[in-house]
């Protein structure tokens, strides 16, 4: 009888410790935000227009600008023309511009692309899984990635003017 009692006590203790361990793990193991200098998380998403998939593995050796946006995000509307202009300016120098429509209705995202006449590829990340991998804290956010796949610039909030995005892209090209 005593053995059963000790075993039950040990079992209860093990249960409490394992639940506590689970709590500590959950609190401490949140997604790490992507930082300047870090390798950029790979991107593999369906295209917003349904025409295929986006895979950054195909852009190895080229600078990539990744812009997270959503149709309901007002600052995203302000910066979209700047990004399109930067894409037109740098596309012939091998720069890739990727828009990622995140936590949005796919139909709203497509209408947004059409409204602003965006010609660069846009992926769809409805559930925000990729946004979590990049550690997004709001909308919009832009990451500029160099030829080695490292993040060289991170713009939190909208790109304010053309010079800001040009400087970031030049850094990635250097």
């Amino acid at each position: 009888m005593r053995i059963v009692k000790v075993a039950a006590q040990l079992g209860a203790l093990a249960l409490v410790l394992s639940l506590f361990g689970l709590l500590v793990w959950k609190v401490t193991s949140g997604d790490e935000a992507a930082r300047v200098g870090d390798p950029a998380p790979p991107i593999e998403l369906p295209q917003l227009d349904g025409s295929g998939r986006i895979d950054t593995a195909a852009y190895r050796g080229r600078p990539v600008v990744v812009n997270f946006w959503a149709s309901w995000c007002l600052p995203c509307r302000d910066e979209s023309p700047l990004l399109e202009a930067a894409w037109q300016r740098y596309r012939n120098r091998g720069v890739v511009m990727l828009g990622i429509d995140t936590r949005d209705f796919i139909g709203d995202g497509r209408a947004f692309v059409e409204e602003f006449g965006l010609t660069y590829p846009n992926g769809y990340d409805g559930p925000g899984k990729l946004a979590d991998e990049y550690g997004l804290t709001g909308f919009p956010e832009t990451f500029v990635i160099d030829r080695e796949g490292r993040i060289v610039e991170h713009v939190v909030g909208p790109v304010e003017d053309a010079q800001q995005i040009h400087d970031a892209i030049e850094k990635a090209l250097a």
Partner: protein, 129 residues
């Protein structure tokens, strides 16, 4: 008698549950869905995406969609994370089972302890007389 009471209670609640499924209200759905940016239920949020989702819900209710259909459509766009309650299937089923199993296990332990305690009191009683 108790079983009959439970059956009557189930019968009384069934029409309400069915009505809620086929004719959901805006408030019900807002309480059962989560804003994907602020992680609170929609009824607690005025985030831009939450406002957009509320407009979507209103439009789908007006179109006659059921509660499950509306939830499925939102989950298809934003992922299953927009559902406030865990699903009753797959791994998420554990979230429903574990608390009930814990309650049942606790009830068994307390019953055993009470049984042992009352038996001990009964055994000790003659010594006191």
């Amino acid at each position: 008698m108790r079983a009959l009471g439970l059956v009557l209670l189930a019968l009384a609640l069934a029409p309400a549950a069915l009505a809620s499924e086929s004719h959901p209200t805006q408030g019900e759905l807002e309480a059962e869905l989560v804003c994907p940016t602020c992680k609170t239920t929609l009824d607690q949020s005025n985030a831009p995406v939450a406002l957009r989702m509320k407009r979507f819900i209103a439009a789908r209710i007006a179109a006659g969609d059921s509660k499950s259909e509306i939830k499925d459509q939102l989950a298809a766009q934003f992922g299953r994370g927009v559902l406030a309650a865990p699903e009753k299937e797959g791994f998420d089923l554990l979230a429903w089972i574990v608390p009930l199993a814990g309650l049942a296990a606790g009830a068994v332990v307390i019953s055993l302890l009470l049984w042992r305690w009352t038996r001990r009191v009964d055994e000790e009683q003659p010594l006191l007389e």
